[in-house]
Subunit: 141 residues, 4 copies
Amino acid sequence: MLTITRLDQADARLLIAGAEAHAREIGVPMCIAVADESGQLLAFCRMDGGKVTSATIAIDKAFTAAAARKATHEYGAASQPGAPAWGISSAIGGRLMVVGGGLPVDHDGQTVGGIGVSSGTPAQDQAVAQAGIDHWRAHRA
Amino acid sequence: MLTITRLDQADARLLIAGAEAHAREIGVPMCIAVADESGQLLAFCRMDGGKVTSATIAIDKAFTAAAARKATHEYGAASQPGAPAWGISSAIGGRLMVVGGGLPVDHDGQTVGGIGVSSGTPAQDQAVAQAGIDHWRAHRA
Amino acid sequence: MLTITRLDQADARLLIAGAEAHAREIGVPMCIAVADESGQLLAFCRMDGGKVTSATIAIDKAFTAAAARKATHEYGAASQPGAPAWGISSAIGGRLMVVGGGLPVDHDGQTVGGIGVSSGTPAQDQAVAQAGIDHWRAHRA
Amino acid sequence: MLTITRLDQADARLLIAGAEAHAREIGVPMCIAVADESGQLLAFCRMDGGKVTSATIAIDKAFTAAAARKATHEYGAASQPGAPAWGISSAIGGRLMVVGGGLPVDHDGQTVGGIGVSSGTPAQDQAVAQAGIDHWRAHRA
């Protein structure tokens, strides 16, 4: 049998709190999702003004980053025309997200979950996701 | 044009906090979702120990209760064999939930959102959803 | 709580009437969809001769434009190979449309809905959508 | 953070081997699926002669049993007309299986995965799933 470490709800809230704080700083209301290491949804927040389309996109970015253990922007590079993973963006019914804003959450060299952010530009989304991770690292028990 | 009143993120957090408190009281970790009046997801929490299957079910209960402005257990009664809404349980790709645990959130005679709870028995789910609404009514600004 | 302004059915009819008039002028029977500000369908018309495939596409263009508050052709530019939103075209089960013909409907600086048109070239679709908006602006109460 | 115990691939093979042996005994070629504790597929086998429709059904039985920590036949009883979970059978896009043949795999009081079997009668499916678990308990390291 395998022993797995995964984010709990307290972790998820720290991740969301850190992401929200940065989203407010840059003035872009975001959808923020946290998934466990299997990609299953742990927590979600659509800030006032976050886009409706971004709810699913944030959840799917968190899913992709956690379950594939890869930042979604890395899939963006790998799935360009002519690149090896060309076409992967429509896999899993379109849930495999290749747009930046999904980051795996790692701990002791293992992926323990993922965070996905959407409503801004992909660069903003990614920065907000990273801010969530930084806040979590600084404050987790 | 129409003017619509809907839950904001602060409302969603009050609803989840009240639901969580009751879930802890009865010792059943729950998935809790809050949707706006259009059924679109506003916030979600899978308490530690909440069931993975219940994530989607809670989100779909919130969607149904908000967007149809009806408690999901009412659809349960209306969709029994021979009853008028027989078969509705598989509508919208199965998102139309007829199992108890989804309640519309009403304000001034209008539905402003919905809360959906899953992981316990339907009666427990419904009680936890109601506790969320009661907490929201008592504490909202 | 939030107060939201959204299109009503009378608005939707004006939008469709304006779009239909322009579609007849250019001789291209169209599918025309209007969504509210959450992306939910308000009205739909497949003109005699409109394409069956275009029904879903028009609905999804209206959904995207309204719920993401962005014209679909802007997503087209942003999602080209190498561009930041590369890959977004398959998000939300493929509902996130990046082909021109979906326009947000704005009022007083807020998105109150969206219109999506399909059956012609993307440029024709977009022109017909814009004609719908122009007609609505000119005639709404 | 949470520490989770889940089946590994060696466990999955023991579960399938035990199920296959019983399927051969009763002369019914089966589809057999094993999921981890999150409901994600670990291993799958369609025995020669197993039904094509049963592949998805077996996978969804394993998913349901693992992720909801409940035997699918228990959902069958609970979702009869008039029973509390009436209508749950179409939840999660129809993946929530209420037909017998899905069993959670428990260890030390925790669900560590699930096994789902399909192609025979529900009673045969359930017996074959149970045989898989019995074999796993007898032979696992």
